[in-house]
């Protein structure tokens, strides 16, 4: 059972140059048929030379439930004590100094700030969730809440990089690109890794879904869901000069010329692959248009998700997963919307209002379609927020004293589907929610666990680069077994 070594991958990427060479390689054990077998044993996929693509689907290292990932990223840092980690003691101390010292975070902090939101118990598990995520909470028995997450520093940029790429500073490939590198994708007519963010880019931009030293094909395809027209969503997806019938005729001309050219050259596999890629592209034009067109959904589904741009992209996510896209990342919005240093109550209520309903609908939808078992959903930000109020800092929070600072010492993420243990709370922060104290889970541990759920030993999903075998978790990370069902 093996993940491609760099060498194998390069051998693949440079492609055998003839059909004969291809079969030759197949015969010499480099893989009985195509990349699928280069990358993992027991593949049943019969690939024509044209399917020899780095995106060809291939099994993970071992059998596992999760086949897809949806990462709902509440960028800016949602407050855990206002959402999934209730802290009654904060109400007790509201307005007073905590009996313990405030831990250092990005800015100065002061007295305890009680959560303005009501918590209630949900489901058979009776896990408490605040009113902000009441729709999501209906699925709590399918959700595994990790209340003991930890990041490394209280700043957005490194924490975003850590959560997405496994390293706070150095340029490393993103989680989604590692997963598509490891598994390819099931639908060749759509990108394998899609990152959606309405209205523009989050902080640190496209680095969040970069492929870094992995081949560029594994980079996330960015989509600005502000737009509704397909041609604005995916570059070059449509030809505005000719109808599809005439484009087909034009492609037939191209392929006839290509066919003659290839035949004169003993059918070089690289030539064949490129010929094939035009057929894929032609189909992608239809398929992508279809995938992003939520107008095709029945009215009750549209209503269940709601009207915001965040709802729309959550619904698109379901349509993409249905069509076999490997990894979908959904950002709440441009910049860092959840970064509520002030007016937390108003802002968190507004932001949750934009996505809670649709997250609930998505989970319902995935479950009804039997997709939840094979789709791993991750919800969270790059860190949480302090249980204490942020003090006014010139130029930062407009002198209001009603928000929370960044908190990397402890925060909450949750997982659902894909083989996680539902209705389960893992770990805990201290009495006030400042620091993860029980069973702390580092970001590398989260990554290791998610890779495990997808069927990878995180220590073996590696890529040789600059003399070293790199991996998502670098030299860290342990699978948190308690999270697995």
């Amino acid at each position: 059972m093996s993940i491609p070594t760099t060498r194998e991958l390069r051998q693949h990427l440079s492609l055998p140059s003839t059909r004969r060479e291809f079969l030759n390689r197949a015969g010499t054990g480099l893989g009985s048929l195509g990349l699928a077998s280069l990358l993992g044993q027991g593949s049943q996929i019969h690939a024509a030379p044209g399917d020899l693509s780095p995106m060809t689907p291939r099994p993970a290292q071992f059998a596992a439930k999760a086949k897809h990932v949806i990462h709902i990223f509440l960028n800016g840092g949602p407050s855990h004590v206002d959402t999934f980690d209730p802290k009654p003691s904060l109400t007790k101390y509201n307005g007073q100094a905590l009996p313990t010292t405030n831990l250092p975070t990005e800015r100065k902090t002061g007295a305890a700030l009680a959560s303005p939101f009501k918590f209630a118990k949900y489901g058979e598990s009776g896990i408490e969730v605040s009113e902000l995520f009441q729709h999501t909470a209906r699925h709590i028995d399918d959700i595994c809440v990790i209340r003991s997450m930890r990041a490394e520093v209280p700043n957005h940029e490194p924490s975003l990089m850590l959560m997405n790429c496994g390293d706070g500073r150095l340029p490393r490939p993103s989680f989604g690109s590692w997963v598509t590198y490891g598994m390819g994708t099931e639908n060749q007519n759509l990108p394998g890794f899609i990152a959606m963010c309405p209205n523009g880019l989050p902080i640190t931009g496209a680095q969040n879904w970069r492929s870094s030293f992995l081949p560029g094909v594994y980079q996330g395809t960015y989509i600005d869901t502000r737009h509704k027209q397909i041609e604005k969503l995916i570059e070059n997806i449509r030809n505005d000069q000719i109808g599809s019938g005439e484009q087909r005729r034009q492609l037939n001309l191209l392929q006839e010329l290509n066919r003659r050219h290839a035949d004169q050259r003993s059918s070089d596999a690289a030539l064949e692959t490129r010929i094939h890629s035009f057929e894929l592209a032609y189909k992608m034009q239809m398929e992508a248009t279809d995938a992003f067109n939520i107008e095709q959904e029945p009215k009750h589904v549209l209503e269940a998700y709601g009207n915001s741009v965040q709802s729309r992209q959550l619904l698109i996510a379901r349509r993409l997963i249905e069509r076999g896209v490997r990894f979908v990342q959904l950002w709440h919005g441009e910049g860092q919307p959840w970064d509520n240093h002030d007016d937390l109550e108003v802002n968190h209520r507004r932001l949750a209002g934009e996505c809670d309903r649709a997250i609930g609908a998505l989970l319902t939808d995935l479950k009804e379609r039997g997709l939840l078992d094979e789709t791993l959903v991750l919800w969270g930000g790059e860190f949480g927020r302090t249980p204490v109020v942020e003090l006014p800092t010139p130029g930062a929070n407009a002198g209001k004293i009603n928000g929370r600072d960044h908190n990397h010492h402890g925060f909450t993420c949750w997982l659902a589907g894909g083989g996680v243990k539902g209705g389960y709370v893992h770990g805990a922060t201290d009495e006030f929610g400042f620091k993860a104290v029980e069973k702390p889970v580092g970001v590398h541990d989260l990554h290791a666990t998610m890779l495990h759920l997808l069927g990878f030993d995180h220590e073996k999903l590696t890529y040789r680069y600059a003399g070293r075998d790199f991996r998502l978790t670098d030299i860290h990370g342990e699978v948190v077994k308690e999270l697995l069902s």
Binding site: L13, T28, Q188, Q219, N236, R249, Q250, L254, L257, R274
Partner: protein, 933 residues
């Protein structure tokens, strides 16, 4: 960076062990000259190894190395943890190993699951007494020197003799290749025809295809030196530099932006001067050794303002890693070591290189060189803008924007000093609160909120400096801050009593009168109250001084001696409130820093965008030379021993001398291009080969270490490498050697028999068919539609796929912060680190671009329009388009296919693109256009 996990061996005791028995001593004693007796080895295998496997190697083995410790080789025991060895010869009880097995209280206890039974400990004890016998393991125990002795790339380059001439051999390159082919029963393919050859070599050297005129001229040249003349013409054109510079820019991880740098200007204003330098260096055939020296140390070899200073962009155009200096230096070590030497020295940042003879000390030897170099704030001007008026305009605007920065900074400096004075009481209050004796009372500040820590620290530092003397102003503070809260009022009373009784005595406490009076006037009950009292007293003096200066602007002092004494604490030499500009930058608040960043961004923005900004070189200069300590596990918080600035041991040998001139960059460059260095010449030779044939003789072009792949033809590599050095490092000569060979000339036709023997064509029994890369693609499409702008140099242009932009692709903005999707879709080089090669993928996004992008459609339209103009019948028009796109006539079948398409293609109102345009576009999309045979 993560703080290192607490490691079990990190204790003071291990440090002591380290001091007693260093690795060297140990090695000397334990590595006995005589062979280890067989019975000792048997004892080890039967009794000891199983214990190690069972109890130790799970955490200290090949998979995990807790505390940096590996216990699956003898070397692992000798090396020990980060802090020292595990066993000491002749001192069994002093050996760290025995200590941890002993399970002493308050000590590291190993194995963690429980103490081993006494008899097992006795076995291990005996093993240590025997000198830790371990069977030889040729790989695991190979030392640095051994690896350097056996690995091919570290052997000196010796010019090999030419193999016996082959019958159809034309050049030495052919002789070597044919000899290797012959050994496998293979031979070269027949020569390619002239059309194929000129298309291949023009794409190779220029990055665009030849025109029909070029083809006709070459095809009709009957002279014996036709090919030589063609090569001369191609190599002499500046189009060559514009193509081949890009290969080097991949290695140099060239980009026009810095990576994420918070709110500062993300673009480099002058990165383009490095790119232009590289283009020029290739065009003038700058000797490669000079090229290397200039890129590393132009500041020491050329005059100020020499354009060659731009060469140093090689070091400085990397990412800025949130301005973390360790990572910036790491990037520079990486680009130098992988880029120039084919060695992955970066692997030795945290530990000795696991596979190559590069100890972590060597990494920090190079680190010291770059840490001793700085980047000047004001970069040297290396030319003048073309238009004088634009330049004048630029200078005027620049002065305005720069003045805004200096004015604002001067203003904020004054504000900071005012704040330090007017908030002295608040600062003292925080210091009082930090005092261990005083509970953390919620403090009430005179100002709006708590003073910034940096301000408090100024006062804290001042108090620490004055604590040692009987300070006339702060002695009461120093005395009273040592007192416990309960005793405080009594101490104040005692102090006041003493002052009263001291009245008039000569040996009285020499305390400032105003402070004394304040304390006596309202005796403080706590340290915070005392803090406030000091603050109020100081503020009164500030008030007096302000009033006096209003009346008498040139007043030098306050008339009252006691007030003047306090004034000097606030305004005099050594005052915490007198701050230099550099210091003030650290003291200002976030709002001020943000504003400065914003104003500086406006300055940088002008430099990036103004047509009148003069070019500058992104140089480094020598700072104060300093050796770097080894950072244990790469952690800046754990400095180890200092290492001299010097070259890598594996190349320079054990007798290397530390560098002594400045930072050592120039010496480093000289070591790199030293003729005895076995790597540099091989590495660049291999890169040249790689770009002519798609794959290097060494298929891992930036890793010549033991984990890289060996050369397919080592003799040829060495012959070419010696040739390069003997030919005064001329790369154009190297191109000629390769391009005039029969190997390069041969056809790319398939050969089933040869493929059966050498399926990957590593021995080159045919010319590989190569797909054009991103730059070739865009440039070629523009070239065949007669739109390519060949002009040289200058600032990058944005929006690479806008069909209005027609400059060569090498001049497109490379934005590493947000690289446009089209670069990625076409396998552009990784922009974050030195890229040895580019992947070559085929994905539908590339096809979508070709089918649908306005860029391709627009160029097709131009080709079609030109083609239709140039003939009166359809066959003639079709032929004209073929001549443009493929530089050849269509065959009769092709003509038929094309004409049939034109007859069948529909034109309805939805079709904005005419059938002719569609046909021209289809030709641009063909494999024929996208591959070179």
């Amino acid at each position: 960076m993560l703080p290192p996990r607490r490691r079990r061996f990190d204790s003071p005791q291990t440090l002591i062990v380290f001091c007693i028995g260093t690795l060297a001593v140990l090695g000397g004693i334990l590595r006995a000259a005589e062979p280890v007796p067989a019975e000792h080895l048997e004892f080890f295998e039967k009794q000891v190894r199983p214990l190690l496997v069972q109890h130790c190697q799970e955490c200290h083995g090949s998979k995990k190395q807790e505390a940096g410790l590996r216990l699956d080789s003898r070397r692992g025991f000798l090396k020990g943890t980060d802090s020292g060895p595990l066993i000491i010869a002749g001192n069994v009880d002093g050996s760290r190993l025995m200590q941890v097995l002993g399970y002493l209280p308050n000590e590291t206890q190993m194995p963690p699951k429980g103490k081993l039974p006494a008899e097992q400990i006795a076995l291990i004890r005996k093993w240590v007494e025997l000198g830790a016998p371990w069977p030889e393991d040729p790989v695991g125990n190979a030392s640095l020197e051994d690896a350097a002795k056996i690995h091919w790339a570290f052997q000196p380059i010796k010019r090999p003799a030419l193999p016996a001439a082959h019958s159809d051999g034309r050049t030495p390159v052919d002789a070597f290749i044919q000899s290797a082919l012959g050994a496998k029963g293979l031979k070269l393919s027949e020569p390619a025809d002239r059309y194929t050859f000129i298309r291949r070599v023009t794409l190779d050297l220029w990055g665009i295809p030849p025109t029909i005129e070029d083809v006709r001229e070459y095809e009709s040249d009957a002279s014996p030196d036709a090919t030589e003349k063609l090569l001369d013409r191609l190599l002499a054109s500046p189009l060559y530099g514009q193509r081949w510079a890009r290969h080097w820019l991949d290695v140099a991880r060239y980009a026009d932006s810095k990576g994420y740098v918070f709110t500062a200007e993300p673009r480099y204003p002058y990165s383009y001067t490095y790119r232009d330098y590289v283009v020029d260096a290739f065009n003038v055939d700058k000797p490669f050794d000079e090229f290397v020296i200039e890129q590393l140390a132009a500041d020491s070899v050329v005059e100020a303002n020499d354009p060659r200073l731009a060469a140093m962009g090689f070091l400085t155009v990397g990412r800025r890693y949130l301005n973390n200096n360790h990572d910036i230096i790491d990037d520079r070590i990486d680009v130098v070591s992988r880029g120039l030497l084919g060695l992955t020295v970066g692997c030795a940042r945290c530990h000795d290189h696991k596979f190559d003879p590069v100890p972590t000390e060597d990494y920090y030897s190079l680190f010291g060189i770059f840490a001793s170099s700085t980047e000047p704030e004001e970069l040297p001007i290396i030319g003048s803008p073309k238009e004088a008026a634009a330049y004048a305009e630029f200078q005027k605007e620049l002065a305005i924007r720069e003045k805004a920065v200096t004015d604002y900074e001067a203003e904020s400096l004054a504000k900071v000093m005012d704040e330090l004075r007017s908030r002295s009481g608040d600062c003292l209050l925080v210091i009082a609160r930090d005092n261990q004796n005083w509970l953390k009372l919620p403090a009430v500040f005179a100002g709006k909120n708590e003073p910034r820590r940096q301000l408090v620290d100024r006062w804290k530092g001042y108090l620490e400096r004055t604590a040692k003397e009987e300070h006339r102003v702060f002695a009461p503070w120093h005395q009273l801050s040592k007192v416990l809260p309960d005793d405080f009022p009594a101490h104040v009373t005692k102090l006041i009593d003493r002052w009263k009784s001291d009245e008039g005595k000569t040996d009285a406490d020499k305390i400032n009168l105003l402070i004394r009076n304040s304390i006596m006037g309202m005796p403080p009950k706590s340290l915070p109250e005392l803090a406030r009292l000091y603050g109020d007293t100081f503020n009164q003096v500030v008030g007096q001084w302000d009033a006096l200066r209003k009346q008498t602007p040139d007043a030098k002092s306050l008339p009252d001696a006691a007030a003047e004494e306090l004034r000097l604490v606030l305004y005099g030499e050594g005052s915490p409130a007198v701050v230099a500009m550099d210091e003030a930058r650290r003291l200002v608040g976030r709002d001020v820093r943000d504003k400065v960043t914003e104003l500086k961004r406006k300055v940088d923005n002008l430099k990036v965008t103004s047509p009148g900004a003069p070019p500058r070189a992104m140089v480094m200069r020598d700072g104060s030379p300093q050796n770097s300590p080894v950072l244990i596990r790469g952690n800046p918080g754990r400095p180890g021993k200092q290492v001299p600035r010097q070259f890598l041991q594996v190349v320079a040998g054990p007798d290397r001398k530390p560098y002594s001139k400045g930072s050592g960059r120039l010496e480093l460059a000289q070591s790199i291009v030293d003729r005895k260095n076995p790597l540099t010449s091989r590495v660049i030779t291999n890169r040249i080969w790689q770009h002519h044939f798609g794959t290097g003789l060494v298929p891992t072009p930036s890793d010549f270490g033991t984990r890289g792949l060996p050369p397919s033809n080592p003799e040829l590599l060495d012959w070419l490498s010696s040739q390069l050095m003997d030919g005064s490092w001329s790369l154009k000569r190297m191109h000629r050697l390769v391009l005039s060979s029969a190997v390069y000339r041969q056809s790319s036709k398939e050969n089933a028999q040869a493929r059966a023997i050498d399926p990957e064509n590593r021995l080159l029994w045919r010319m590989p068919r190569l797909r054009i890369d991103f730059e070739e693609m865009r440039d070629s499409i523009l070239a065949v539609s007669d739109r390519l702008d060949f002009s040289l140099g200058g600032r990058p242009f944005d929006d690479v796929m806008n069909s209005k932009n027609t400059r060569r692709t090498i001049y497109a903005m490379v934005n590493r912060n947000d690289l446009p999707g089209v670069f990625r879709a076409f396998d552009f080089a990784d922009v974050d680190a030195s890229a040895p090669d580019r992947p070559s993928t085929t994905v539908p996004q590339q096809a979508l671009f070709a089918m649908n992008s306005p860029f391709v459609i627009e160029q097709a339209r131009r080709i079609s329009a030109e083609g239709q103009r140039s003939a009166t019948d359809d066959a003639g028009r079709l032929a004209a388009i073929y001549r443009k796109v493929f530089a050849r006539e269509p065959s009769s079948e092709e003509r038929e296919i094309g004409l049939r398409y034109l007859r069948e293609a529909l034109t309805t109102p939805t079709e904005k693109q005419s059938p002719w345009d569609r046909l021209a576009q289809a030709l641009l999309l063909t494999n024929e256009f996208w591959f070179a045979d």
